[in-house]
Symmetry: C2
Subunit: 210 residues, 2 copies
């Protein structure tokens, strides 16, 4: 049976809506009283797994789900061994550098060498500053990255920005955009080539629905 890994969080509603367009109904996952992480659609056509966004590529990489929906930010950070086939055109956001509005710096290139940059996206941050040939210390955090410059632990942050509200509320200003990110359809490469469970057909239908 076809299995799709769906991300919890900000991409959930749009992911469910997209799958509904191709006849797969996983709206149970939108029900706040639902505790199931694994459901089959009412027609018995496909199964869905509800997992953390960062775990979607893991389930697809190991072939437990042939298809998955995940933000490009996760793919760029984790570099999983999956095929990224369709830009789903939702979940628009950008990976940006932000720094205190009242501080002395106005762009990444203003930052002094060996300064500290806090981020949940350690790989993306390192890669960007290496590209600028600017050596920085990346401090890995799990959440509330915007706190790091406020307490003086970091000169800047690298984080995903959607509306920019969190940055504004914390007196931070976005200075550089590393890349723009949207939701992507990822596929287990071997399942796609072998076309087991008509994976190629589902990918074509999803591509048309975007």
């Amino acid at each position: 049976m076809l299995t799709v890994a769906i991300p919890k969080g900000s991409l959930l509603t749009d992911s469910i809506a997209l799958l509904q367009k191709v006849g797969l109904d996983f709206r149970t996952f939108l029900d706040s009283s639902n505790r199931l992480l694994q459901i089959t659609d009412p027609m018995g056509t496909a199964r869905a797994l509800l997992v953390r966004a960062q775990d979607v590529p893991v389930y697809v990489e190991y072939g437990q789900a042939q298809l998955g929906i995940v933000g490009e930010d996760v793919l760029r950070e984790k570099q999983p061994d999956v095929a990224c086939l369709v830009d789903l055109k939702f979940g628009f956001c950008r990976m940006s550098i932000a720094m205190p509005k009242e501080g002395p710096y106005r762009s990444a290139l203003d930052l002094p060498p060996h300064c500290r940059v806090a981020s949940k996206y350690v790989h993306c941050a390192r890669e960007y500053f290496q590209g600028l040939d600017l050596p920085v210390e990346v401090i890995p955090l799990y959440g509330s990255v915007e706190l790091a410059p406020l307490v003086g632990m970091a000169e800047a942050i690298v984080d995903l920005v959607s509306t920019g509200r969190t940055l504004r509320e914390n007196g931070l200003v976005e200075t550089d955009v590393l890349y723009e990110s949207t939701a992507r359809l990822i596929v287990h490469p071997l399942s796609y080539r072998l076309n087991r469970d008509n994976v190629q057909g589902w990918v074509a239908q999803l591509r048309e629905s975007v």
Copy 2:
């Protein structure tokens, strides 16, 4: 000013209660409408930072907080460069191995070599199986680890268990305990030695309050 890093999540209420015993009132963090991540207690004695449990040792390591409260599980997994001074005797749980109740295995030693073990605690899991001299592939996940054996991605999981309800609900049984964990008081080593902001006095008071 003394700064304490307090973990969001399951240890929050007990952490606030402990600090209250030594005269530091950070109950604002328990207010569900609160959006502040950084507050000063009403007497102006100390500041508190509300951060993810995994980030507590980072703030203490970088000296942004002289004191922090965090579960031993995080310390064992991340091995941060902090002094762990007091067992705070709350937040009891254990790091355990669990596997499907209906499956063929009853303990870690039953598992076949090169099987898959899913965990959020990659370092702890690797270390334990290395100690058993059993080569396993550890699959790193961020959440809902209990799903991995249900879909057949892993033979077992290593996860933090408190009441065991999540395991039971997912047909998993706890087979081995790696270690028991409680909340710990961690300290920035240099601040402790220099005794700036009377860190040693606060540690002594907190130790007495346990």
